[in-house]
Structure formats: structure tokens, C-alpha cells
């Protein structure tokens, strides 16, 4: 009895803590679901900082409506929790937009919910092509593995490489990358001599390196989730003499994301990637973005592709709020932006009306040391790349 009573008390406390905060008049709320704790906490941080930079540059109101962001922590891929959080945001916080989503399953989980509530979900990261097919209310400002990989594969072929081995982490995005590379490269006339899918939890990459070596490939296309695994892979690549053998190391740009470059150290030198954003991108808008970021947060070391996704996502949300005059009508909001083209820190962007995914420039980059600091140096641009992985309905 007593213990049950305690439960009730606890419940009451929980309720009070949760129920506080009356809705402000004429405020459009945006619920952001992202990892703010756990191993991927930096992602949430980059989202939040980019949003704040955007608001500092463009004001917190649009068309007379205040845009307020509400953050919810989802530390790992956990679709059930994602759904529960989204439900809370919609029902309790009465948000007009959902945003964020680092992992694909977390984004997929809210599809039925946004359909029913008729609110748009702006995906800042989750990069599996198929997501936007699941609901007409998804809009995505990041990239897909297909988008980054197709130009890379074509480029690799052009440099004269004919034999490539793919090595990807054994999960959705990795398999997307593998398929995209294989399809494109073989269409161009090259040969993928071995496709290795590495368990996500691998700590030692030496055996994969041996396999890559034995395959006789001239280059390896690799994709792993950013963080310790990429670091381990890059180190193993050097330690096992693959670099000395002259094997090229290429992949989508996640593997050399800016926050990890410091730890990767010289092991990362010479890795060739294609990606939509580099903090070192040379444009006035990017410089302004970086400068503002430095001003607000003291450092811009963590600015990376997730920052760009959130920054442009915020832009889209502002546009949608403007178009619907702050009213809650997801279908109308998406309709209003689905042909939108705009300039972003990463370059020119345009939404593709069918996939509601950004068509954007892909940049070929090489990791180099500039002023003693490792950066992703852009050396070539592949303009206006669509999401090649979108199959449509």
C-alpha cells in the first residue's frame, strides 16, 4: 500500500513537472528530437547550436509569429521512444512541426503520427533514401548515401581505378552506400571485387584490412558510423600497410566529419570523400555562419554536416510558418516549400518536389593539413545532385 502510494506521489510530482509551462500566444513550436546525451550527444549539440545561429541571424519571429524550439533527448536509435516523444510533443507541447532525427528508424517511427496530426517533419540528418516515401509530410535537408556515393563512384572510375572493394558497417546506411557504389561503379565499367559488411560492434579492423589487401583492389570505398569505429578503421588502414601499398581510401564525408578529425590525426590525411558540406567551404554565407557560431559559442570546431542540416532545416521551417501564417496545416506548409530553392552555407539548394529531399552540390574533398589543422579541403564540385536512391511511389 505504502509503496503504491509512493508511486502515486511520484506520479503527481512527475505530472507537475511535466505539465508546467502554458502555451504562449501566437508562438509556433517546433519539437526537435535528437541525441543530446549518450555517445551521439554531439549531434544534438550541433543541431541546437545551428538553430540558435539561424535565429540569431534571422530573428526569432517570422511573419509576426515567434518560432520556439522544444528539444527532446533520444540518445540512441530507439523508434518506440521516438514515437512516444513525438506524441508528447504533438499532444502536450502542441508543436506545429517536428524536426531533428539523427537515426533512420527514429525518423520512420513518426510517419503514422505526422500523417494523422497533419504536421510536417523536417529531417536534419537520417539519411536512408526510403524515409521520405513513407509520408508526404517528410522534408529532408541532409543528404543520402546515394547522393554522396554516386558522384564519388563516377569520380573514382574517372581517376583510372578499375577494381574496388567496398567495406561498410552492416546496417541500413552502410548497405545503401554499398549498393549505390556497386551499381554506379559497375555501370561505369569498373569492378567491385569484394563487398565486406563489417559488424557494427567491431573493435579490431585488422582482419578486414587483410581481406582488402588480398582482394587486389586499387581502392576501398568505406562507410562506417562516425566516432570510434571510423577511427579504428582509419588507423587499421594505415597500420596494416594499405596506405603504403597505395590503396586509395574513399567514402562519403561522414567518415571524416570535423569533430573527429582531431582524434583521427594524421591517419586521416589523404582520405578522399564526397559530401555536401565542409566547415571549410569557401563562401561568404558559410563564413558568416562560422563567424556567428564562434561568436555565440566560442568555438566552431564542432561545426559539421549535422549543423548544416539543422541550419537549412530551420530555414525551411521559417518558410513554412510564413506560408501558413502560423496555422497548423502540414499539407499546405509542405506544398508551399516543395519547389523552394535557396542559398545555404553549403551552396545552392533546391527541394525536389517528388522526394522532398534537397538537390544539392556534392563536393569532392581530401583531408589536408591547413595551418596545422586538419580540414576537408574541397577540390571539385559536382553540381545539383539529386537523391539517386529515391524510387518514388
Amino acid at each position: 500500500m505504502k509503496s503504491v502510494l509512493r508511486g502515486a506521489l511520484l506520479g503527481a510530482v512527475v505530472g507537475l513537472a511535466l505539465g508546467a509551462g502554458p502555451a504562449l500566444a501566437d508562438t509556433v513550436k517546433v519539437g526537435v528530437i535528437a541525441p543530446f546525451s549518450g555517445p551521439f550527444a554531439t549531434v544534438g549539440k550541433t543541431f541546437k547550436e545551428a538553430i540558435e545561429v539561424y535565429q540569431a541571424q534571422n530573428g526569432k519571429t517570422v511573419g509576426g509569429h515567434t518560432v520556439q524550439f522544444v528539444y527532446k533527448d533520444l540518445d540512441q536509435a530507439n523508434p518506440a521512444q521516438s514515437k512516444a516523444l513525438a506524441q508528447e510533443l504533438v499532444v502536450k507541447e502542441k508543436v506545429g512541426y517536428l524536426a531533428g532525427f539523427f537515426f533512420t528508424p527514429d525518423a520512420l517511427a513518426v510517419a503514422p503520427l505526422i500523417d494523422e496530426a497533419n504536421i510536417p517533419a523536417v529531417i536534419f540528418n537520417a539519411a536512408t533514401s526510403a524515409i521520405t516515401e513513407k509520408s508526404p509530410l517528410y522534408v529532408r535537408t541532409s543528404f543520402t548515401l546515394w547522393q554522396a556515393t554516386v558522384p564519388l563512384a563516377e569520380h573514382v572510375y574517372k581517376t583510372g581505378v578499375r577494381k574496388v572493394v567496398t567495406a561498410v558497417s552492416d546496417y541500413g546506411p552502410g548497405i545503401d552506400g554499398e549498393t549505390a557504389f556497386k551499381t554506379t561503379f559497375e555501370k561505369a565499367g569498373g569492378q567491385v571485387v569484394d563487398s565486406i559488411r563489417m559488424p557494427l560492434k567491431s573493435a579490431d579492423f585488422a582482419p578486414f584490412m587483410q581481406r582488402i589487401k588480398d582482394s587486389g583492389a586499387e581502392a576501398v570505398y568505406a562507410f562506417l558510423p562516425a566516432g570510434p569505429t571510423t577511427l579504428g578503421f582509419a588507423k587499421a588502414f594505415n597500420d596494416n600497410g594499405l596506405r603504403e601499398k597505395g590503396i586509395k581510401f574513399v567514402g562519403p564525408g561522414d567518415i571524416t566529419q570535423e569533430p573527429d578529425l582531431l582524434a583521427l590525426g594524421d591517419a586521416a590525411l589523404g582520405i578522399t570523400t564526397t559530401f555536401h558540406y565542409s566547415a571549410a567551404h569557401d563562401s561568404a554565407m558559410n563564413k558568416a555562419f562560422i563567424a556567428k557560431h564562434k561568436e555565440l559559442f566560442g568555438s566552431s570546431d564542432t561545426v559539421t554536416f549535422t549543423s548544416a542540416g539543422a541550419y537549412d532545416g530551420t530555414h525551411l521551417i521559417y518558410k513554412m510558418v510564413e506560408a501558413t501564417d502560423g496555422k497548423r496545416d502540414g499539407a499546405k506548409a509542405v506544398e508551399a516549400v516543395k519547389n523552394l530553392a535557396w542559398e545555404s552555407p553549403r551552396g545552392p539548394l533546391k527541394l525536389d518536389p517528388a522526394s522532398r529531399h534537397v538537390t544539392q552540390n556534392m563536393y569532392l574533398r581530401v583531408v589536408e593539413k591547413v595551418d596545422g589543422q586538419l580540414v576537408n579541403k574541397e577540390i571539385e564540385t559536382f553540381p545539383n545532385q539529386p537523391d539517386y536512391g529515391f524510387k518514388g511511389k
Binding site: R6, G7, A109, L113, Y171, G172
Partner: protein, 347 residues
């Protein structure tokens, strides 16, 4: 790995004419109605938090399943998510390809969870201690890898989506506000709780508690400890499977996280926080853990780990029976009946 909790659900009233028999009987039978009342009160008080609260209820059922193995059999496992996830995926796959009735889906999940527990339990339950712990971990890792590889069926790391259950009993649609989900989950939890209580008070439950204390002695009584362990492991698998199916039905998606080592470990943490070997300890632990997580994560996610870490250490050092034992200690202090403290006391 046993022996944290010393208080046991005795499963029957103490000796005839013992003082407080009436009080105990009242407490005995009031537990479930009180839980139901609190559940409904929550529904009425926090109509906007039903999504989270539904998750808490489903998780409570999952943690309850762990209590059946750990609290009543003394099996230390870090692989309970194998059963939860199997149930969730089985229900999810059935929902996508075969049926959509939520009750049928729960049954599918329960059967799947029970079967995997029966098979793996029969294989590994001869071991003890660290070896058993490692075996349970290995099982959950293998199940997760199977789920990851069978992308055509499970969606792999993208998760299994498209689960769209039909209205409960053909009457109540799963709505946006989560009202149906919540009440459905509450009803399932209460029914399963009653079933679990029935089982732990049955002859079988009594035998399992004997095995937990001393398997060799049970053997000397003519019993077969291994059969009890495997039996209870399979029953707990059914419970975990139903919990997984309930999560799948109420959220409409199943992810690889539901068969992870982490999810197994979290269940253990929640259970021990609440108190093992009591059943309702599992419910209390889950509610406390998830509610606190929600509050802290909303204010500052970085503090969550620090807090839960300190909380865990505090419980181990100062409240070895878990939160649930707090009530028992208080009632022990209030009514200092000497015989009571010695008996299996149920609050």
C-alpha cells in the same frame, strides 16, 4: 547471483490466528485494484503524457518478466531483451503480413517469446554465475544479429514499420492521443500481473523459489531444478514476448534496440531499483526509473547518467531491498510486531 532481496512473497497467509492476518489479506487483495486506480488516475491527470506512460506500462511488464527469472529463480541474466525483441518482431511481422487484431498480436508475441526462451533456456541454464551471464549476453547478441541480417522481414537497422493494428475488440481505435494504447496497455499489464502473481504462488512458483535458494536441496526432495528453471525461463519469455508485442502494437514500430544488450541491462537496473522477488517492485522500479529519466532528460540530459549512477549506488548501499522495501521498512517501523518481521511480510 541472488540474495539481495531477502523478503519474499510468501504466497500464503502466515500461521493461523497470527496477528495482522486481516490487514495482510486486505493488502494482499488491494494491490491490484490500487494499481488499476492509480493507472486510471494517471489517465485522468495527465491526458497529454499518455505516449510516455504507455511505454512505461509496457516496460513494466517487461521488467516483471525479468523478476520472474531473477527474483523467483535467481537466474542472473543480461539477455532478457532477446525474448522481448523476439516477441516484438514476431508481433510486428504478423501485423504486417497476417493479422491486425491486437489481442492476437499479443498472443503471437507471447508464444514467440516463450519459444525462444524455452529453446535457449534448455541450452544454457546448466551454467551458473559469470558463465551463465555471458551465455545470456551471447544469446541476445545473436538474436540481434539475426534481426539485423533478416532485413527483408525485420527492416534491419531501419526498424520494422507499418504495424497498423486494428481497433481493440473491434471497438476502440488506436488514436493520436494514445488513449486507447494507454488503457489497453494498462489492462494487459494488470491481467499479466495477476497471472504472474498466480504463478509465483502456485506449487510451481514455490518450487522455483526453492531452486533459487538451494538447487541441491530441491534435488534431495526429488525435484529437478533444471526443469523448474527452464520452465520459469520460458514463462518469463512469454511475459517478455507479450511486453514486446505490446510495445510494437502501441508504437507501431520495432527497432533493433529492442533486442539489445543495453535494453537487457536497463531492465536489470529498473528491477533492482524497485526491488526483486516482489512483482510490484518491478512496476515501481520501472515507473521511478522512466519518470525520473523523463524529467531529468528534459532539464539536462547530461545530468541523467550522473543522477542514475548515484541513485543506483545509493540504493545498493542504503536500501538493499530496492524502493519497494521502503514501504515494508516503514510499515515495519510503524507496527512493531515481532513475529511480523520474521515472517514473509507482504505490504
Amino acid at each position: 547471483m541472488t540474495a539481495v532481496a531477502t523478503n519474499k512473497d510468501t504466497g500464503k497467509p502466515a500461521g493461523k490466528g497470527a496477528p495482522g492476518r486481516l490487514g495482510r489479506a486486505v493488502r494482499d487483495h488491494a494491490g491490484v485494484p490500487v494499481m488499476a486506480a492509480l493507472g486510471l488516475l494517471g489517465f485522468w491527470l495527465f491526458p497529454e503524457d499518455l505516449g510516455l506512460m504507455t511505454r512505461i506500462l509496457a516496460t513494466a511488464l517487461y521488467v516483471l518478466s525479468l523478476d520472474l527469472v531473477l527474483g523467483y529463480c535467481g537466474i542472473a541474466t543480461l539477455g532478457q531483451a532477446a525474448m522481448f525483441g523476439t516477441g516484438a518482431y514476431a508481433a510486428g511481422i504478423a501485423a504486417v503480413h497476417l493479422v491486425s487484431d491486437p489481442l492476437v498480436l499479443l498472443a503471437v508475441g507471447g508464444v514467440a517469446g516463450g519459444l525462444i526462451a524455452l529453446v535457449t533456456g534448455a541450452l544454457i541454464l546448466h551454467a551458473h554465475g559469470l558463465t551463465l551471464l555471458m551465455l545470456t549476453i551471447a544469446v541476445v547478441q545473436i538474436v540481434q544479429e539475426v534481426a539485423n541480417k533478416a532485413r527483408d522481414w525485420t527492416g534491419g537497422s531501419d526498424g520494422l514499420s507499418g504495424i497498423d493494428p486494428s481497433p481493440v475488440l473491434g471497438l476502440f481505435r488506436f488514436d493520436l492521443y494514445g488513449r486507447t494504447s494507454y488503457l489497453f496497455a494498462l489492462a494487459v499489464l494488470l491481467v499479466m500481473f495477476l497471472v504472474a502473481r498466480r504463478i509465483v504462488r502456485s506449487p510451481f512458483g514455490l518450487a522455483c523459489r526453492g531452486v533459487k535458494e538451494d538447487p541441491l536441496r530441491v534435488q534431495a526432495l526429488g525435484g529437478s531444478p533444471r526443469r523448474y528453471l527452464v520452465g520459469m525461463y520460458a514463462i518469463a519469455g512469454v511475459f517478455a514476448g507479450v511486453a514486446g508485442a505490446l510495445t510494437a502494437v502501441s508504437t507501431g514500430i520495432v527497432g533493433l534496440d529492442s533486442v539489445s544488450f543495453t535494453w537487457s541491462a536497463e531492465a536489470l537496473v529498473m528491477l533492482v531499483l524497485g526491488g526483486t522477488g516482489r512483482l510490484y517492485g518491478a512496476v515501481i522500479g520501472t515507473v521511478a526509473f522512466m519518470a525520473i529519466h523523463h524529467i531529468l532528460a528534459a532539464s539536462d540530459p547530461f545530468h541523467w547518467m550522473l543522477f542514475i549512477g548515484l541513485f543506483l549506488m545509493g540504493v545498493v548501499l542504503f536500501l538493499p531491498g530496492g524502493i519497494a522495501s521502503l514501504g515494508e521498512r516503514l510499515s515495519g517501523l510503524l507496527s512493531r510486531s515481532p513475529s511480523r518481521t520474521a515472517e514473509g511480510d507482504r505490504p
